[in-house]
Amino acid sequence: MIEVLTLFLFNIVIYSIPLLYATCGEIIVEKSGSLNLGVEGTMAVGAVFGFLAGCRADSLPVALLVSFAASALVGAIFCIFTISLQANQNVTGLTITTIGVAVYFFVGNGLGANWPVYRDCTRLVAGVSDLNIPLLSKIPVIGKAFFSHNILVYLAVIIAVLVWVYFEKTSFGLRLRAIGENPGAADSLGVNIVLYKYLHIMAGSGIMGIGGLYMGLNMGGTFEGSNCWINGYGWIAIALVIFANWSTMHAILGTFVFGFFNTLRIYNMPLATTFPKTMGWLSSVPAQVFSALPFIVTLLVLVISSIKSRKSGRSNAPTAIGVNYYREDR
């Protein structure tokens, strides 16, 4: 009986983690004042290259490194176009989504090579097997649900916390935030804007790539079917950045909320039949409602936060987001 609840919570975490990677990555990008709509494509590229390299080498570290590097390279392309060549960020981002997903299909099913079978990559499979955290994983329900996951789940949370510390507590983070708020002012203080933007957008994109890799590993990586593994999660991440109000700490909670609703699509009936008194009503809610709810909540959060920021005069959104910085305009 309790088992259903545990599995429900466990799967929320499974679902949330790729979103957490992608959201953290996009928050870093947006804090530097760039809006990268290419999350979906960036994740797809990191997923396919990281997965295949990891299988070839039969090693999780290789998979992580290659997915980070491949996606960072996609981030670099975004930088070249928007920072060096001053192209429109929205259009560049959308292009990256299209091309990234196309690269995924080309490499994944298009080349038609005999890719390694994930099942047979014993060391890689062992690398992402669930780890029980001592003591904590013994707690009933919550232990199994939150403290018995694979290493990539914990890594995502660690990254989210580290990024928050970086932004809030280090001078590098402060300079980056300054660039996102007012690049002209940061420039006049001697901050190397181009270097900062390149490095952070590449790092953010690399983190998105690990999110994509996570999805591939979690699903046992088959290239059958006409849909990409990422299948729209990159877009949800862009919405989540707003939902999380550009804070990676909020993103941990925000991704959990998104994961909660999406997992309910599958678990509404099991929960309703197991706990008929308290959750029986779930069975009569159409599944489409659960998939729409996170977006409705995002809109509400946006409205509330914009009312709040109008009153207090400050918002967490980087002021200069989406605007290319051109030094001679200063």
Binding site: L37, T222, E224, S226, N231
Partner: protein, 408 residues
């Protein structure tokens, strides 16, 4: 700032809706092999996705057309004209048809349901070209027909395999991950046929259907299969969705499974029993051959015998080879059921049920008069009455048969 934010949100929500709804596929490779025929017969095809896909719906049709043309000695490089990625929009389909007509096509295939109106109009406008539309319901009595297959017959056979497995492992719970349920006759008839097959072998079997309300989300397909195993204790997982995730889950969880569309044994070597599969080339060869050999396009409808719904008999549908994971009786029972359907003696949705009995080596089948009931206790077909396969072909089937439980 507010303007920008609202722009972002609007575009994100729109894109998310768009991209999660229908994942796009664009992939490369796979060269067409050219036949050596000297015929000047030109085949046209309009695809919803790309001829370069490596899996999925368009891929299956493209392979079917290429295979059929090769069998007929037609060169697939010079004599096959394709319009890829044509959306279900009358105007765009019309343009694609005009282009193919301009390239001298003698027969044009449209593989997606939404091409239906444009095809019906074009058939009147171009009386010298043969038009064939898949999965639709319109036709004229001259140069325009529609075609589809009785995949439910193959589903029934897969159901038998699942039923025997459930007996062998002593677990009556069978799971079924489905993109949609009673909303579409295509998914609903598949579930029903599968359940009837399973219960012909194991009358106590229950088919738990988990709908995910979308095509193509592998994560949801995976979770749905996991729930079927963990919550409902299913020992066999069948599927009607895009990816092999349910089979991979079956493999991981140590249960069994029936795939769909392609032989998924390589995805789940220890779990897979068999999968219903399509052989579209059967129809394409028949259609192209008929059109090639006739004096006038206006004779097509008569010559091909009207609208086409091939089943096991024609080879249009089948199941992938049974793996060693199957229970020992499965192969014999499936052969018996197949023979009854191939000969036309019996069909799935009728008032006659098949009952299998006996050990491996001596499996027998008995035809029993038994009303076809839905899972709310209503009689669909009275005992002994004929098949209602029309409701599958015309798309009106919208109920689950007895033994099916919707779990979502």
């Amino acid at each position: 700032m507010k303007k920008l934010l609202s722009l972002i949100v609007a575009s994100v929500v729109m894109c998310a809706a768009l991209f999660t709804g229908c994942g796009t596929a664009a992939s490369e490779s796979n060269a067409e092999a050219g036949g050596a025929g000297a015929s000047d017969f030109i085949v046209g095809a309009i695809y919803i996705n790309s001829q370069n896909d490596n899996a999925g719906y368009t891929y299956a049709h493209h392979q079917g057309i290429v295979k059929a043309m090769e069998a007929l000695g037609l060169n697939t490089e010079t004599n096959l004209k394709i319009r890829d990625n044509v959306p279900e929009d009358d105007e765009q389909v019309r343009t694609a048809i005009e282009q193919l007509a301009g390239q001298g096509c003698d027969i044009i295939f449209g593989i997606s349901f939404g091409y239906i109106n444009a095809f019906a109009e074009a058939a009147e406008e171009y009386p010298d070209i043969v038009f064939c539309h898949a999965t639709g319901y319109l036709s004229n009595d001259r140069n325009f027909n529609n075609y589809f297959g009785r995949i439910y017959q193959a589903r029934y056979l897969a159901g038998i395999a699942a039923g025997y497995k459930s007996l062998e492992i002593g677990n009556n719970n069978i799971g079924y991950v489905s993109a949609w349920g009673t909303e579409y006759a295509e998914t609903c008839s598949g579930i029903n046929a599968f359940a009837l097959g399973a219960r012909a072998v194991n009358p106590d079997a229950v088919v738990h259907v988990n709908e995910i309300y979308t095509w193509g989300d592998q994560e949801l397909e995976r979770q749905a299969a996991e729930v079927l195993v963990s919550t409902y204790g299913c020992g066999v997982i069948a599927q009607h969705c895009d990816s092999a995730q349910p089979q991979i889950v079956a493999q991981e969880q140590g249960v069994y499974g029936c795939g769909y569309n392609s032989d998924m044994a390589s995805d789940a070597p220890d779990a897979h029993l068999t999968a219903p599969v399509w052989n579209w080339n059967v129809y394409y060869q028949l259609a192209i051959e008929t059109a090639m050999n006739e004096a006038s396009a206006a004779d097509f409808f008569t010559n091909i015998g009207g609208n086409y719904y091939g089943g096991l008999n024609e080879g249009m549908v089948d199941i992938s080879p049974l793996t060693d994971n199957n229970a020992p009786e499965a192969a014999e029972a499936i052969e018996l059921a197949r023979n009854l359907m191939v000969s036309g003696e019996w069909d799935v949705f009728s008032g006659t049920a098949l009952v299998f009995s006996g050990e491996a080596g001596s499996v027998t089948v008995e035809q029993v008069s038994q009303a076809l009931m839905d899972n709310e206790g209503n009689i669909i077909v009275d005992g002994g009455q004929g098949s209602v396969d029309d409701s599958v072909i015309q798309g009106s089937m919208n109920y689950y048969v007895d033994g099916v439980v919707a779990e979502s």
